[in-house]
């Protein structure tokens, strides 16, 4: 009998504990190379911000940290929104607000008390607003619940010599979702060097990234129905007079549930230059 117990004791101790050393994120998670055939789930985090919002750089830093920790699962967007983004009276500060950002904020009842954000436009108790400290946890919640995405988005894009954006989008429904979907495409700009309040200071060479510049579909806010099979070409003329640096632009494409408006999948694509 003592042998039985000795056996159990040995079994318990031998198989007792594994030690995991940092970094704790799987290497596959960093290069997104889980499975060549399956798209991973990417979560859209919309950071509502403004250059006069003294706490917004904290949210931006957190979003940057989230991107570093979960590079293959997050698509960040900065939406300059509300009175904190409104140029101060009597100044010539740039206005990064967009009609698209305003409409999205209004629809989802985004508060003007920035910083605030939405993660995949998912509501909890009817509220879409999430403090930036909650973004990572909501992202992890969604990714660990479903690592692989139900929808795959493929796209290619380029600017022509006359500042015309030409792009194509292909959507593959991996799981045959029984939901109505819409697809939206927008332009984001990186490396916009501009003024930003940060606590009690004003930083004049602050780098703004993932800045929402414009929706590039006929309906720039809500996009177009994504009836499958979906493989279409689009074009968009960059408005004259804008100060965008086309070399720093990206094409954001996301698919959302037409009924709930919740984001199903998002991707961001490089745009070939002229």
């Amino acid at each position: 009998m003592h042998r039985i117990l000795s056996f159990l004791l040995a079994l318990t101790i031998i198989g007792s504990c594994d030690t995991v050393e940092a970094p704790y994120i799987e290497p596959n998670s960093l290069n997104c190379n889980y499975d060549d055939d399956a798209p991973v789930r990417k979560v859209l985090i919309e950071d509502f911000t403004g250059y006069q919002c003294v706490n917004c750089p904290r949210a931006t830093d957190e979003l940057k940290s989230i991107v570093e920790r979960y590079p293959c699962h997050v698509i960040p967007v900065a939406i300059h929104y509300g009175f904190f983004a409104e140029p101060a009276f009597g100044t010539e500060d740039p206005d990064y607000r967009t009609p698209e950002g305003a409409a999205i904020g209004e629809y989802f009842e985004v508060t003007q008390a920035l910083p605030i954000g939405m993660v995949n436009r998912r509501a909890e108790n009817g509220n879409y607003n999430l403090d930036y400290e909650d973004w990572a946890i909501k992202l992890v919640e969604q990714v660990t619940a479903s690592l692989y995405a139900d929808v795959e988005i493929l796209a290619s894009a380029n600017f022509t010599a006359d500042s015309l954006l030409e792009y194509s989008i292909e959507i593959n429904d991996i799981s045959i979702l029984n939901v109505n979907m819409h697809v939206v495409a927008s332009l984001l700009e990186n490396k916009v060097i501009s003024k930003q309040k940060d606590g009690s200071q004003t930083v004049y060479d602050y780098e703004h990234n993932h800045m929402l510049r414009a929706g590039v579909m006929e309906d720039p806010i809500w996009g177009t129905p994504a009836n499958l099979p979906f493989n279409r070409n689009f074009s968009y003329a960059v408005p004259s007079g804008v100060t965008w640096n086309l070399d720093n632009m990206e094409l954001l494409v996301y698919v959302y549930n037409s009924d709930t408006k919740e984001i199903i999948q998002a991707e961001v694509f490089h745009i070939d230059g002229i």
Partner: protein
């Protein structure tokens, strides 16, 4: 703590009593049925049930013959009553075991409950009022090695729920495998010099390991997670003392993903867990003193990383707060914070001798209770917010580094006095501080509730067989739903009980929600059988036992309860 150990001992004694009756086939058991009708009541937020009537029932059958014993438990959920988690379905036999006890060994296979020490790293038990059942399914060996050494080993998986699988109500287990061993050494038996000592010392050590494959593509997770601990129990004369320390290796899990209550913990963080509990008591004629303290950091320990709420907990944290039975005193109960908490409890009971000025003719009992639970100080690592530290080592904290957030505080003084052969009374005053956000979760009221309660209980005996008990309770608070008052009468005849009560939320800030939660019930008891039929309204709230809680939804309807033992 002692109460829990006594309960455990009582449970075990049933088993051993069966075995004591040698050479006879002995069958014992019990049946419990709870059923309720649900009607919609928009004022209190009660929802109707499509089935009209919901019921939970259980029936245990235990047999023993010579050195063998066994048992089964039928469970039925047709359909499960509102407010219970996890979901259970259908009628099945999710608990069954067989075993034998011979010489110094006792082996059980099948379903069983077990506890190591105070449960800090392993405790499985069932509490049907909470819908809590984390029974093991596997094998357990208990061995008396002699010289005061007792060993216990368990190896199994844990119950999650009874669910329909292929149209059949089946026991569904958690994915993880739990292995554990516990050694307890009674020094008085082990050391000859202590054989006749009036000081009794017991040492204990536990080791538990769980296995769950790492199939998470985002995190590198340890498939095997170990926990261990040691304890000491000393009793000498009127004094007793116990202390236990446990350590759990990092066990990243989703247990803290629901951080809505602000006391964040395991959001896939790679931080070990620690726990320390200690208690001491002094007891002499007419006086009892009890003090206890604990400090817990990151002690979620479950056999499934994605389990939440009360599912698949391997361990149990003693609550160290008083579990009141009075309706208003129990309105805001403490919920143990596995993610981190510290606290202490003190209780003094004093009997003022009879035939004195203060004690009166029959003596007077005074009971003072104090418990205070608060946060541990958690400092972020590398400025990463506590709510966004997944995939990191979490935070810095120490078991003696206390935070500033008060979760719960209860101060109460009760006086119980018998005036004559007919009248006995209890008067209790209580002040409660309750962080509703932490302990109840995000809801309608997220602030701290300060409540002052007064409770009176008068027991009047008309004759030897006819009694009337009257409870008067009152709560004054500006938090949550405001003031409450309660009045309850319980009239007892031989075999019969009649209960009429009302709980009135007369101070609700919302005038429309100033509701009477009335109750009418009749019960009949005879021998080992009791049946109760009632009608009334149940307020939405939380019910906790030992710090494990369940949200109780508002309900309105008839209820029936039947218990029978044989």
């Amino acid at each position: 703590m002692k109460r829990k150990l006594l309960l455990l001992a009582a449970g075990l004694s049933i088993l051993f009593q069966l075995q004591a009756q040698e050479d006879q086939l002995v069958i014992t058991g019990n049946v419990q049925l709870d059923a309720q009708t649900y009607r919609e009541d928009s004022i209190i937020g009660a929802e109707a049930a499509p089935e009209k009537l919901l019921s939970n029932f259980y029936s245990n059958f235990l047999v023993s013959y010579k050195n063998f014993y066994g048992g089964v438990r039928f469970e039925g959920y047709l359909n499960q009553m509102q407010g219970f988690l996890p979901l259970n379905e259908g009628v099945g036999v999710p608990y069954y075991f067989a075993g034998f006890q011979k010489d110094n060994i006792d082996i059980t296979v099948g379903s069983f409950y077990e506890q190591f020490g105070s449960g800090l790293i392993l405790r499985t038990y069932e509490e049907k009022t909470l819908g809590y059942d984390n029974a093991f399914q596997g094998i357990r060996i208990r061995l008396n090695m002699g010289y005061g050494l007792t060993l216990k080993a368990v190896y199994g998986q844990q119950r999650l729920a009874q669910l329909y699988v292929n149209d059949r109500a089946s026991l569904v287990l958690g994915k993880g495998i739990v292995r554990g061993i516990d050694a307890e050494l009674n020094l008085n038996e082990a050391i000859r010099a202590l054989n006749n000592s009036s000081t009794y010392i017991t040492l204990g050590a536990s080791f538990v390991s769980k296995y769950e494959p790492d199939n998470n593509p985002v995190y590198k997770l340890p498939a095997n997670v170990a926990a261990g601990g040691g304890r000491i129990d000393v009793t000498t004369g009127k004094y007793s003392f116990m202390a236990e320390y446990t350590y759990r290796a990092p066990d990243p899990s989703a247990a803290g993903l629901d951080n809505s209550n602000g006391n964040v913990g395991q959001n896939f963080i790679y931080r070990p867990g620690q726990g320390f509990v200690a208690s001491a008591s002094y007891s002499t004629r007419g006086l009892g003193v009890y003090v206890a303290a604990k400090s817990i950091d990151n002690m979620n320990f479950r056999s499934d990383r994605n389990a939440k709420i009360n599912d698949l907990l391997i361990n149990f944290i003693p609550d160290f707060t008083r579990n009141y039975t009075y309706l208003i005193a129990a309105m805001y109960p403490y919920a143990t914070q596995l993610n981190g908490e510290a606290g202490y409890q003190a209780a003094i009971q004093y009997n003022i001798p009879k035939k004195t000025f203060w004690g009166g003719r029959y003596g007077t009992d005074l009971r003072f209770e104090y418990s205070r639970m608060f946060s541990l100080m958690k400092n972020p690592l590398d400025s990463i917010p506590l709510t966004a530290n997944s995939g990191t080592e979490g935070y810095e904290a120490s078991l003696i580094g206390f935070g500033n957030d008060l979760f719960y505080q209860d101060i109460s003084l009760a006086m119980e006095r018998k005036f004559n052969r007919k009248v006995k009374t209890l008067l209790m005053v209580q002040h409660l501080t309750y962080d509703n956000n932490i302990l109840h979760g995000a809801g309608e009221y997220n602030g701290v509730i300060e409540a002052f309660n007064v409770i009176g209980d008068v027991y009047y005996r008309f004759t030897n067989t006819k009694t009337l008990r009257t409870e008067v309770q009152h709560m004054v608070t500006e938090g949550d739903k405001g003031n409450w008052g309660s009045l309850l009468f319980e009239y007892t005849l031989p075999g019969w009980f009649f209960i009429v009560g009302d709980l009135y939320n007369y101070g609700n800030p919302n005038v429309e929600e100033r509701v009477h939660y009335y109750t009418f019930a009749i019960a009949y008891a005879h021998g080992g059988n009791r049946i109760q039929v009632g009608y009334g309204k149940q307020r939405e709230g939380v019910v906790c036992t030992g710090g494990i809680c369940r949200r109780v939804p508002a309900s309105h309807g008839f209820n029936i309860s039947l218990t029978s033992t044989f």
